[in-house]
Subunit: 198 residues, 2 copies
């Protein structure tokens, strides 16, 4: 069968360039691309998903792993992942657990097998929502407490009667943030959003 993968031009000592075919899961070299076979599609999606999650700030592995499982008919074991994707066992283990938390992947048992197997869930909406909740929660809570802290501090200052112009400006800005935060929080918890993501 013809080779498949990214085609990269490699300079040689003799001055004659030659083509080199790289597996799809390698960071893509902006080359032409060959698609012969069903497994090629899988590998292309694996690469794309890896780039996607990497661009979003989760690593490359987590996307690749999900795509691999998603495009596999049979449930996949950690060994399958490390072999197919060329990643370490440790990374596979941790990423799979992350995906499980997001509900992107679910554990299945196969009789007679000692390994853990995983298969993909198709409900992208739910997955995205869980991942977002995760991210937003982590990034929001500390800012949240700072906001209330500032508000109480400003309130006491006002009680003391000392409210020069700078203080007023500050209070106004903090208030604007509070308004946005409340609106965002309201929207986030509204049934509307819940419906949209389902």
């Amino acid at each position: 069968m013809a080779p498949t993968g990214w085609i990269r031009l490699v300079a040689t000592r003799t001055g004659r360039d030659r083509d080199e075919v790289c597996p799809f899961h390698t960071p893509h070299p902006d080359g032409v691309f060959l698609m012969n076979d069903a497994t090629d599609i899988r590998e292309r999606f694996v690469a794309a998903a890896g780039e996607f999650t990497q661009a979003l700030g989760y690593g490359r592995n987590i996307g690749q792993i999900f795509a691999h499982i998603y495009f596999s008919r049979d449930p996949q074991s950690l060994d399958n992942l490390t072999e197919s994707l060329g990643i370490s066992k440790g990374s596979a283990s941790m990423s799979v657990r992350q995906l499980e938390q997001w509900g992107a992947v679910k554990h299945v048992w196969i009789k007679g097998e000692r390994k853990d197997f995983y298969e993909a869930c198709e409900d992208f909406g739910r997955i995205m929502r869980k991942a977002l909740i995760d991210l937003v929660g982590r990034t929001t809570e500390s800012a949240d407490s700072l906001l209330t802290e500032s508000e109480t501090w400003l309130a006491t200052k006002k009680k003391n009667g000392r409210t020069p112009a700078d203080m007023d400006f500050l209070a106004d800005r903090v208030k604007k943030i509070r308004e946005f935060r409340n609106r965002a929080h309201y929207l986030w918890n509204s049934p509307l959003i819940r419906v949209l993501f389902k």
Copy 2:
């Protein structure tokens, strides 16, 4: 005036630990914190905003810069930013332009001054939306073209009559992705979302 900032315990050679006060914009050391003055609130928000944007995958500087401008009464110059935040001129320049693109900050001219000054826009909803469009656009487009590419490839294969079970599975999975993508795209462009973010 009493010193303000994070309080960090530093071990000394004599065995006697002493307290050290760090400016708020330094990466926070999990210490106690002192708030005496209006500028302290600004610095705390600067630190929080920096952590926020960093967690979201944009650097620390961009958040700090926006917070600094947002909590400044007067328009701020690049020099103000590099001095107050302890960042480089290059970074300040680039970050400010990014913020301008998002509509988070706008250029103002001050007569008799040669420097560029910036002040903050308060419309957080719009800012978030622009930043999101930016992110989603960048991460989505390549995946998008892969999707259509795969669909056409699968279609030709089907024409050739060769559709074993594996192919059907593959086609089904690709179809599921397409459905999600279309739904997401529709929602994203729906007037509903536009209203929510305003």
